[in-house]
Amino acid sequence: MKKETVSIRTKETTARIRNTAVEAVRTKDIVKKAVRVYDEGKLGIGGSIGDVEESVLEKQAKDNLEAGIEYPYPLETGTDHRDYNANPMDAQTMLKHTERILKTLRDEFPEFTFSESVTIRETTTTMRNSEGLDLSYHDGRFELGFILKEKKSANLFDGFVAFEGRKFDPERFWAFNRKYLAAYNNPVDFPKGDKLPVFTLGGPETKRFLMRALNGENYATNSSLFSGKIGERLFHEKLTLEQNRNPKETHQAFFDNEGVRNENDRVALIENGVLKKPFTDKETAERYNLPHTGGASGAYDGVPSLRTAPLRFKTDSEDIKKTLKGEPAILVVVSSGGDFTAEGTYAAPVQLAFLFDGENILGKLDEFTMRSSLFAMYGEDYIGTFKSDELYLGDDVQLQGFYMDIKR
């Protein structure tokens, strides 16, 4: 009988904010552990929240073998220990930053209130097995997420101030956010035209739709929009979309839920606009004779399965301002509730957007609706994926631009 253990330890301190003041301080120290046992092609799992004895979980796992869950695949081997933030920010420093930021917001921006949280989170994830696998990933993040509300507004909230990263630079934070909040107070007219360059921070609905289309099982059973199209050009020739487990860019473990690692932590699924492969776990790759990408997901105590994958576009363009050549653009900050239809038509309301020259946020636009389709957005109407240093929103922030139909 082979054995595998998974553990995730999360330590965090959060300052809860209400009306631009600290209301509460919350601490957490949570361990989640699982034991997997493999016997005669079957898999059993035991798991618990809390520091439960491994022997207890192993017994649970052995009992779980009776469910008859098939897992006839070889286990991973190898050692890889990585620490992406050996000296994360401590709680006292986080609270000092928080109090200073809140004071500045109260003093300089009394027309707004800010609520929600500032958190430091330290995570250690390990996966080990009896065949010699020994993986560990440690990271630490500073996360600031404020909802912004205009005092004169009757909305629940009107926008966000946010940052997520390993290190926090208050000077850069204020250099960006002072401009951002000033632009918020400067209403401007829309540029002329019905089809305009729109830049987004990567909408969740787009990733969700692409994830469904690139799921290996959907691909193989002809239920993906991309089925049968490996080798075909789907999108703009400069667009590359990867399954990316590089923690520097994606802030998550460098191995999948089966302990699989990729060369350079990346696999190109769409390269230069051409579909290369869908993402797969071991079962999907074998069942449908597809390349195995290490795309297994699932809960710490769940059976590895093919549901989500860490998709990230490769940065393919530089200098938004130069690319725009003076054409005014729209920067979408909040777009909530939009979606794609099954065939790829896209529509989304935009609750907060700014006039943007590619470098500076110039003023606030009224709400509008944007429309396009998946193939237009990433095809003829694709402008590019850019790394954004000007928008100090976190590590490795990307902005993606498309021409979109705008309905005011």
């Binding site: 809860r16 009306n19 209301e23 509460a24 301080v25 919350r26 601490t27 957490k28 120290d29 949570i30 798991g47 618990s48 929240i49 809390g50 520091d51 779980n64 469910a67 869950i69 098939e70 209130t113 949280s117 997420g145 909802i147 509300k149 005092k151 004169k152 507004s153 009757a154 909305n155 629940l156 909230f157 009107d158 099982e217 959907n218 059973t221 002809n222 239920s223 929009l225 105590d301 769940g302 059976v303 399965s305 909040v334 909530s336 509730g337 939009g338 979606d339 794609f340 239809t341 099954a342 065939e343 038509t345 896209y346 529509a347 989304a348 309301p349 609750q351 709400e367 609706t369 429309r371």
Partner: protein, 444 residues
Amino acid sequence: MFEFPKNLYTDVRIEEAHTTKIAYKNKTIQEEKIRRNKGAFVRVFDGERWYYSSTTDVDRLQEKIDELASMANPKEGLEDHPIVKAFETNQDKILQYEETDVSKVPAHKKRELMEEYLSLLDVEGIAHHKSFYVDNRIVKSFYSSKGAAVTFDKQTCGIRMDMDVVFGKKKDQVGVSRGAVHFEELAGLQEYFQTEIDKNLDYVKNAEPVEAGTYPVLLSPTATGVFTHESFGHKSESDFMVGDETMAKEWKLGKRIGQKHLNIVDDGNVRGNGYVPYDDEGTKGKKTRIITDGELTGRLHSTLTAALMEEGLTGNARAVDFEYEPIVRMSTTYIEKGDTPLDEMIANVRNGVFIDTIKHGSGMSTFTLAPARAYKIEDGNITTPINVSVVTGNVFETLALVDNLSEEFDLLSFVGGGCGKMEQFPLPVGFGGPYTLVRELKVE
């Protein structure tokens, strides 16, 4: 039980959760996860600031209490602080699911139930499917330094089947689910599931792109539930209003915001996902009339918001689990039924849209509904299925545009997913209502 520190307010919430998930890919079992987890959340308040800690080490809660107390500044007379004064001090024990405890149903019975329904998916057009059975029974205990001592249980169970449907170039992912409180309620649902599967297949096979525009929209009870939750429910959560003069004016009690037939209720006593006999601050669950005859008559509160706004407690302080503090959340929120037969409502629509099922919704200044199944209404009949990305409306205007409510009425519980509010997701909530006719919404 605990030694609560002097001159501080302290409460402790202990949660013991039993959960089951049995998942299938096509007809093969993929996962059988049975878990029993225990954790606790401790709060200390010194009159100025709260101190929270969540832990799985429930044998050392006294240490957690003392640790938080050491960070706080005790104050004499704290018992007269308006927030501390407002806390209820209920002492109660309601363990009503011990006899029908879903955790005591053997796993093989749950598998057999699922396998019976999976045979319904052996039909042309379903390329593959993933399905699961889930249940959970939670026993919560709450103790406070004011003397509250409450223990209660709640449970839900449900089945969800997600299918990838392909008819030539027409492809979509659709689902069907049913939630319940007792395991036995999930038996004998072949006809319900068969009907929903047939509707899904017909929808994918025949759906046409919608012509974008503004239409009268008829919402099913499911869609009405999500519409109510997103368009108005979140605005009734009073943590958004505390210390905010504009919001307080905009949402002043007595203000007319709908037509006379509009009544919206939040009720923590309804069994199911939104069942909250006591909230996570030990406040007894209540029925709150948020809108009565079109006028704003109530809002949802935690103890903190009720005290600060000088209104009564409503029992709506809820946390997604023991890792989080309670914040103001809905329980079961619904529009009360009207008196028009559904057939009559449909017959009066010349050119509209019927939203049958929903993928998701959201609610800021513009609320959104992303339909899973939607249809044209033409000359008084529901006709062609249509692909719709999103339906939107303005939260400040749309409730006044609710023109008609059916006498048919249904309350539902989602299986999988739930309500998200900032970091706390997914919280189980109940929702539903009658069929609702909204005069105009944007359909894209």
